[in-house]
């Protein structure tokens, strides 16, 4: 497939935003259940939520460049019963609203307990809005992943690994980002977040390698025999019916050499996983130096852009069989 930068930025930016929120809420849960020293700096949650919202707004903004008619984008919420894209269109603003409510609850200091759980844990508005936003965040992750995962003849995408990778890569970048924020704001949580960021980056690497391995071994279900219905092993296209290109030759091909695609794979493995892991490991030891995780998140985000580029370029659409030869 042709990697469109509008969609690359949409998926990486909202992924990082969602991951950032999940990281914030994870921190809050841990301190709520007294697994960590309590975090009294509510500014941290407010600014974190704000950054998550900014990232997701930028992603949403970028997605409009993908549309032929952005002014009609509102129509795309109509077919949520059948279309994952339509579901994403609803889930994205809903998640943003949830994260906004979470940030607002922290900003307004709505921390007086609404009720107390049997264990003695006080449940306040921040916890409830956070829980709601978490559900919405995962819903959005699933919708985004399923847009690609549900197309069965794009065999490279038609796998649960697609959704898992969207979740893990977004979460990993979100935790790296929150490590930076935490180090910058000098909270006590930097080491905690850095170790979680390492955990999710390693987990994302494992699942991304699994999907690379899976896609390398894919046997195409369709071949030229079923494409034109002639049962012969040796079929060659002589003419695709046009002398120049067409939508069919542009939209479904990445248009780069195989060596370029291969180098992109190496680049994203190094940038999205290896370098951030080294830097996050370094920031475990020096939790106050925010510059280290800052470099980590910048490099990881560049790596994730390369990863998403490769994700698109790697998918081979069966219609390409009809467009092998110009003449």
């Amino acid at each position: 497939m042709h990697p469109a930068f509008s969609v690359i930025f949409l998926t990486t930016l909202i992924g990082a935003g969602q991951g950032l929120f999940l990281a914030l809420f994870t921190g809050q849960i841990f301190s709520q259940f007294n697994l960590m020293p309590e975090q009294h700096n509510s500014n941290f949650y407010v600014i974190g939520s704000l950054i998550a919202l900014v990232l997701m707004t930028l992603g949403l903004f970028s997605s409009f460049f993908h549309l032929g008619h952005p002014e009609r984008a509102w129509r795309s919420a109509a077919k949520w019963r059948t279309s994952w894209l339509s579901r994403e269109v609803i889930a994205l603003p809903a998640t943003m609203a949830g994260i906004f409510a979470y940030g607002l609850a922290h900003y307004m200091g709505w921390t007086s307990p609404i009720f107390t759980m049997p264990g003695g844990t006080a449940v306040d508005a921040t916890l409830l809005t956070g829980l709601l936003a978490t559900i919405l965040t995962y819903t959005l992750f699933v919708c985004t992943g399923m847009i690609y995962g549900c197309i069965k003849f794009l065999q490279e995408w038609h796998s649960p690994l697609t959704v898992i990778n969207f979740i893990l890569l977004g979460t990993a970048s979100g935790f790296t980002l929150v490590t930076t924020l935490s180090a910058y704001m000098k909270t006590d949580l930097t080491s905690f977040y850095a170790s979680w960021a390492i955990f999710f980056t390693v987990l994302a690497l494992i699942f991304r390698l699994a999907s690379l391995r899976r896609n390398k071994r894919i046997k195409p279900i369709s071949d030229l025999r079923s494409a034109i219905g002639v049962n012969h092993k040796n079929i060659r296209q002589m003419a695709q019916g046009s002398m120049g290109g067409s939508f069919n030759t542009r939209e479904y091909f990445h248009g780069k050499k195989a060596s370029f695609v291969k180098s992109m794979k190496v680049i994203f493995l190094i940038f999205a996983f290896i370098i951030p892991l080294v830097l996050l490991g370094a920031s475990l030891g020096t939790p106050s130096a925010y510059i280290i995780p800052l470099i980590a998140i910048v490099i990881q985000f560049m790596g994730l852009i390369a990863e998403r580029w490769y994700f698109f370029a790697d998918a081979n659409h069966p219609q390409n069989m009809y467009y092998q030869q110009i003449s």
């Binding site: 009609r72 795309s76 077919k79 279309s83 197309i151 003849f153 079929i235 002589m238 069966p318």
Partner: protein, 244 residues
Amino acid sequence: MTQLALVIDLNVCVGCHACVTSCKEWNTSGEAGPMVDKNAYGENPTGTFFNRVQSFEIGTYPQTETVHFPKSCLHCEEPPCVPVCPTGASYKREEDGIVLVDYDKCIGCKYCSWACPYGARELDEQQRVMKKCTLCVDRIYDENLPEDERKPACVMSCPTSARMFGDIHNENSDVSIAIREDAGYQLMPEWGTKPSNHYLPRRKIKIKIHKDELERVDNPLSKEERKRHNAPGKGPSLDDMTTW
């Protein structure tokens, strides 16, 4: 229920592209707006087409054969492009099974083109909406046209009558009979899209002649027969029944 479709006979198609040009001519002049042409006379001409004729070479030289293969939207009975459309601009008509795009609702997100394994949909670069074969829906119901012209433009123009048009759910229609009796098949049936358009395969007419059929065994005019019958005391015979 009606399911209108094309049946394309690959045994007859000569690859003249008349269906391509007549399709473009009819549909670019319609009220839905022109189908864009960019650099039509330049280096890299590109544009929107609903129908293309492709050519494939089967086999290895010198045992090769060229198959001309017209390709347009197949109006699937289970169209994968329809449920993915977020706006409902893509739809399949209940009354005749034609898959259409509402150009006023389409946001041009291209998702339907990803979901079509046949590459039948194209984004028009001028109108910025998804376009595809309409089976000349603005022609086939037009009562101002003589009845025998209420067919898609490509069918009208085909000089070898390789294209047939009709209802494949009506068992007695020409297209159904052609599919049934001339081995009509669907493209990429493995995806369960149930394309309505069918193709008829290349068919070679061969006479089977066995060696013993080449020579009449009891040919009275053969050398051996004549020798035998002309032997002294034996006259020639007719059907081994009469002698003279």
